[in-house]
Amino acid sequence: MRYAILCYSCEDAIGSWTLEEERLVMGRLAAVEGKLMREGRLGPTARLLPTTSATTLRKSRKTVVLDGPYAETKEQLLGFYLVDCNGLEQAIETAIELAAANPCGGAYEIRPVDIMSLNLPRTPLP
């Protein structure tokens, strides 16, 4: 079974880290990731840019583009896409295509990716 581990935290507090604190935490995370990689278990990882850079596409009857991250709590995170886009406009167009294919309510949060590594786990898919 493959698991996605989604990272939630207080952005404000993390934004207040000093450079040393940031390096310390990233170093410790890199150690864990290194171990997972040696075990052939690590898949793609990504760090996202701050939520201030996010745009949200609401899938109502007519799609609505809103500034800011997805903020409702009555819906749950069910999956994600990683798509290469030449800018926000293309990212929104892509999300609109997806919304047309699956118009059953909800939203897509469109957030630029900061750092990404595309590892492939060695363990075969079940």
Binding site: A13, L24, L49, T52, G68, G87, E89, P112
Partner: protein
């Protein structure tokens, strides 16, 4: 990270909301700050033992409010303070209540706290110092270090400024939409002042001491953008500062002399800051309501997108400066536009453009620097030398003068070759 490191970051990030809410309760800055200080001391004792609260800001507001009320009571008669453990036990029920009460005010509390620092009677340097003290919670020592003044002088400056703020009073009613927009504009300008105080530092030790001001301004801008997520000018301001600050590692050489944009090692630019800045500009442009910060950010974005200096899209930069000339007409904007024009249409056209600025920029170093450089490109070396000499006499820093001397040396070398 140690416990203290985590708690420190949590306290810093909760500060604007917590002090903002306490200011609304007590309507007095000193009382609000003392109450927050007290809450922080209690947090340092309580959080390592009981673990961090779910919402640090709500915890600090609740504890700070109790402590502020107690302090007021104690001034009248000696009464016991409740101990932290009891407060922590109450946390869940009361925090929820405090959260609901304060959630609605969150935005205006922070905006008010930022806004009182931009009081129009306060000169720019005082606005910056007060904002760093009250909103960011930097110590007087840290601020004094950034401003290269003594601690006691800075202490006095801040005390005087806070006195003026207290005397002015008011601003506690819920702002109307118009007032809110006006506050937002003033606060954005103040944040950009904080940034420029850090960004305009000369190289070497001074730049190192002041760099934290740039980080702090960016942190405040992100905070403001979370409060007003649809404001394209706040997006523009945040993007502008990110894109400028991205170059920090490439701006000075080992001796602390400034390196011109064209000569900077672009591999030293901070790719993460650039990515975030570009993403924000992308968002802002969708609103189709250009403003000065957005246009300046769009110009910075064009520089950031160019892998090499010669890849810079000067034609687009020329157009953006033309827009900026309409939005905020100023001879300095025209002077900057002339740089783009010289790349697109040649030095002659640029020279023609800046000639009429002479009376207004007669005391401006960069005017004569650019004029000299344009004349030099045209091979009018005698006139170039005159302009460069004027520039040196107007230079504000040793680094500026050194740059012009490089030009003069090149003129001399050229003369030798001929």
């Amino acid at each position: 990270m140690s416990d203290i490191g985590w708690i420190d970051a949590a306290l810093t990030s909760a500060r604007p909301q917590a002090v903002g809410a306490l200011l609304r309760y007590f309507r007095d800055l000193d009382t609000a700050e003392e109450a927050f200080q007290d809450a922080c001391l209690r947090a340092l004792k309580s959080w390592p033992q009981n673990g961090p609260p779910r919402d640090p800001a709500a915890w600090l507001i609740l504890v700070g409010r109790n402590s502020g009320i107690d302090a007021a009571r104690r001034r009248n008669k000696q009464t016991e303070l409740p101990d932290e453990a009891a407060i922590s036990d109450l946390e869940d029920a009361e925090t929820d209540m405090a959260e609901r009460l304060d959630g609605a005010h969150y935005r205006d509390d922070i905006l008010r706290l930022l806004f009182i620092c931009c009081h129009r009677d306060l000169p720019a340097t005082q606005q910056i110092a007060v904002a760093l003290r009250i909103v960011s919670g930097l110590s007087v020592r840290q601020i004094a270090r950034a401003f290269l003044v003594g601690e006691s002088a800075m202490e006095q400056r801040i005390t005087r400024a806070k006195g003026r703020i207290a005397k002015a009073g008011g601003g506690f009613e819920n702002p109307t939409p118009d007032e809110r927009a006006a506050r937002l504009t003033a606060v954005a300008a103040m944040i950009y002042l904080v940034f420029n105080e850090g960004y305009s530092a000369a190289g070497g030790d001074e730049a190192e001491r002041r760099a934290p001001l740039c980080d702090e301004a960016i942190r405040l801008a992100r905070l403001l953008l979370r409060l007003f997520p649809s404001d394209p000018e706040i997006m523009g301001l945040t993007a502008l500062m990110l894109l400028q600050h991205a170059r920090v590692a490439a701006r000075f050489d080992a001796e602390g002399l400034a390196i011109l944009l064209a000569d900077q090692d672009r591999s030293l630019w901070n790719a993460r800051h650039i990515a975030e800045g570009l993403a924000l500009i992308d968002k802002a442009i969708r609103h189709r309501t250009p403003g000065p910060y957005q246009v300046q950010a769009a110009i910075a974005a064009l520089h950031a997108r160019a892998a090499r200096a010669e890849d810079t899209d000067w034609a687009q930069i020329d157009l953006l400066y033309a827009t900026l000339e309409v939005l905020t007409p100023s001879p300095v904007v025209t002077l900057n536009r002339a740089v783009a024009v010289s790349k697109v249409a040649g030095p002659e056209a640029a020279l023609e453009m800046i000639e009429p600025l002479a009376p207004r920029l007669a005391g401006y170093f960069h005017y004569f620097g650019l004029k000299g450089a344009l004349l030099k490109q045209l091979g009018r070396n005698g006139e170039a030398r005159t302009a460069f000499d004027q520039a040196i006499s107007l230079a504000n820093t040793a680094a500026e003068a050194a740059h012009i001397r490089l030009h003069l040396d090149q003129l001399t070398e050229g003369a030798d070759r001929v």
